[in-house]
């Protein structure tokens, strides 16, 4: 660029710098984390997917060069794998539903609560969120124990004669997953309820709606972004549950993560374990995307 030319278009008044100049600050700030995530997250995940496409039956060193869907066919043929997928889906749906029914009233109630009560309840929710999953699951081992409070209460009420085996069951897993998911459900719902102006409640009531109808017709639809966020998170967490079914379930209630981990840690079958986890991840993501599209269409909200 000549001196004359630069006098005509000085750098400062050029409508916009080059692409690089424009994005340089962002690129420099993002680079360290992006590099880290590329190496230690994206590449390993890619390798896992690659591993799942190899032929490895466990007894000999086989040809690893050509990609094959062998492991996925095996997954579909294995009743233990398909059974765990169906079970995981069932448990997750149930957990999300119950978790929603328990959490929404808390979130709504927080909206009306005084400052002290609200802070107290939020503290309890945050402490739950922050406390160990193992500790919380152990709490359910205590509550549901043979000589635990639930059994003793049922006996005291004369409903049963001998303690029921409540632990190591699908019911126990669902209970613990609901408990684990509640903070994830309460916080986003509360967040989106906070964004609904109080005039919406009042407008609905002044037009003749009862509180219940206002909730159903106005508040619930408008809190859908939070409901979606919460249900999606709890669903994803339940679909990938591992520690909870290990602690509160039995071999006959194995969830997908358990079946895959077994292949890796016990059978040392990396290929099949990877295929099962890839399947779980893809299925979960597909359901979440479909769910998001459905919510977007029905409730006209951006999620």
């Amino acid at each position: 660029m000549t001196a004359t030319a630069s006098a005509v278009t000085p750098a400062a008044v050029r409508p916009r710098g080059g692409r690089w100049q424009r994005y340089a600050p962002a690129a420099l700030l993002l680079a360290p984390l992006m590099a880290f995530m590329l190496i230690f997250y994206l590449i390993p995940i890619g390798q896992m997917v690659g591993e799942s496409l190899t032929y490895w039956s466990g007894d000999a060193v086989e040809d690893k060069a050509t990609p094959t869907l062998y492991q996925y066919e095996k997954t579909l043929e294995s009743s233990r794998a398909t059974g765990s997928i169906v079970r995981t889906f069932r448990i997750s749906l149930l957990s999300v539903a119950i978790c929603f029914l328990l959490s929404y009233p808390i979130a709504l109630w927080l909206l009306f609560a005084g400052r002290k009560l609200r802070t107290g309840v939020l503290l309890v929710v945050f402490i739950s969120l922050a406390s160990s999953l193992i500790v919380r699951n152990y709490g359910w081992l205590v509550v549901l124990a043979d000589a635990g409070p639930v059994n003793n209460l049922l006996i005291a009420l004369g409903l049963i004669e001998f303690p029921l085996r409540l632990t190591y069951s699908e019911g126990a897993i669902v209970t613990a997953l609901v408990h684990y998911g509640m903070p994830f459900m309460i916080l986003p719902i509360y967040g989106s309820l906070l964004r609904i102006p109080s005039s919406f409640w009042e407008a609905s009531q002044s037009l003749g709606a009862t509180s219940m109808r206002t909730l159903w017709r106005v508040i619930l639809p408008l809190s859908m972004p939070g409901v979606f966020g919460g249900t999606m998170l709890v669903f994803a967490v339940s679909m990938s549950a591992f520690v909870t079914p290990l602690m509160l379930g039995s071999p006959s209630t194995a969830m997908v993560s358990q079946v895959a981990a077994e292949q890796l840690l016990v059978q040392l079958n990396f290929a099949w374990g990877s295929a099962i986890m890839t399947t779980l991840t893809v299925v979960t993501l597909a359901i979440v995307v479909l769910y998001a599209l459905a919510v977007r269409k029905v409730f006209r909200v951006d999620v």
Binding site: P197, S199, F200, E202, A203, S204, Q205, S206, L207, G208, A209, T210, R213, R217, V218, P221, L222, F299, R300, V301
Partner: protein, 358 residues
């Protein structure tokens, strides 16, 4: 449509006595504006009529029947909220139909009435749109349609034009006034905008500190307020103090502006201290050498503030009183008034407001 009575209403909120013995009657079909500074209790009054606040004392009656203990959804009150509160997940038509649906109006009738209401606010073709797709003025009209479609006994408007820009506000003022008049709904408008109150209402209720201070027609309230506080709150005013002296058929007031003002005020006995007010637009600005008639005050121009349609002149008398004069910019040029120039102010006696005698 019915007469609304607030009878010695008292409301306490968070330890504050927000409404104190408020009594106010809005006649059938009348439109009253509640005007006052923020925190004066005007919004509380509106919310009490709507049923969002239960009065701690007193009664609220519509058409003679008490509604003080009635839930908001049982009262037949239409409200236009400050932020409109249009439900964003419903179309315009669904929003307007909402109140009818809650009242169990059959679908066919509902559709007819919704179309009618939308036509009334000139939004007949907008039923299928969502609120986000409307302009501010259109949202305001949808909110109005939603409030009137239920044929309310009382219509409450909370700062109805506050969110609109100046131009739109002026247009909507006219529209709103015509609509209210043609429907004949008993209406309360809450506003802190004097112009809105003056132009929209049949009567204005001025509130301070939870009490009703004045209730009168807009022009009477503006021209002849009966307290210094109301005079001061409604528009700009020059306040003068002085002492009444007897002088023929009118009364002369020795004023702190360094002159004697004559005023036609009945029943004022000589010797009383008085407070006088005069609106800036009522003071005539004359050249310094103009004939010194009645009620003339000599002053020096301190500042001229050009405001487009008018100009504000600040003039200082020798006694140190500042006068605020509003005039047409063209007049300034004609009379050669400029900064530091000497001028003569004429305070016409018919525009002098006597607001306080002590």
């Amino acid at each position: 449509m019915a007469r609304l009575e607030l009878d010695r209403v008292n409301v306490w909120l968070g330890g504050n006595h927000v409404l104190q013995d408020l009594s106010l009657t809005v006649e059938e079909g009348e439109c009253i504006a509640l005007l006052g500074p923020s925190g004066c209790g005007k919004t509380t009054t509106l919310r009490t009529v709507a049923g969002f606040i239960r009065p701690d004392g007193g009664d609220v009656r519509v058409g003679g029947a008490s509604i003080a203990r009635m839930a908001p959804n049982k009262r037949n009150v239409g409200i236009v909220f400050q932020d409109y509160a249009l439900f964003p997940h419903m179309t315009v038509a669904e929003n307007v139909a909402y109140g009818l649906e809650m009242r169990g109006v059959a679908k066919a009738e509902r559709e007819g009435r919704v179309a009618e209401a939308l036509d009334l606010v000139r939004l007949g073709d907008f039923g299928a749109r969502y609120p986000q797709q409307l302009s501010g003025g259109q949202k305001q009209r949808v909110a109005l349609a939603r409030a009137i479609v239920i044929r309310p006994d009382i219509l409450l408007l909370d700062e109805p034009l506050g969110a609109l820009d100046r131009k739109l506000r002026d247009a909507m003022q006219v529209e709103l006034k015509q609509l209210q008049r043609s429907l004949g709904i008993t209406t309360i408008i809450v506003t802190h905008d004097q112009e809105e109150a003056l132009s929209l209402s049949d009567r204005i209720a001025v509130m301070f500190d939870g009490r009703l201070h004045a209730l009168d027609a807009p022009d009477r309230l503006y021209e002849a307020p009966d307290s210094a506080r109301v005079m001061d709150f409604l528009g700009a005013v020059n306040t003068l103090s002085g002492t009444a002296e007897a002088a023929g058929d009118s009364i002369a007031i020795a004023c702190d502006c360094g002159t004697r003002l004559s005023a036609h005020i009945e029943g004022l006995r000589p010797g009383r201290a008085v407070t006088l007010g005069i609106r800036p637009e009522h003071i005539a600005l004359l050249p310094a050498d103009a004939e010194a008639g009645e009620n003339a005050v000599d002053a020096q121009v301190e500042e001229i503030v050009y405001k487009g349609a008018f100009a504000d002149v600040i003039a200082l008398t020798e006694t140190g009183r500042r006068f605020h004069v509003r005039t047409e910019p063209a007049r300034l040029a004609d009379s050669g008034v400029k900064r530091d120039a000497a001028v003569r102010l004429h305070l016409p006696s018919r525009h002098l407001i006597l607001v306080e005698a002590s």
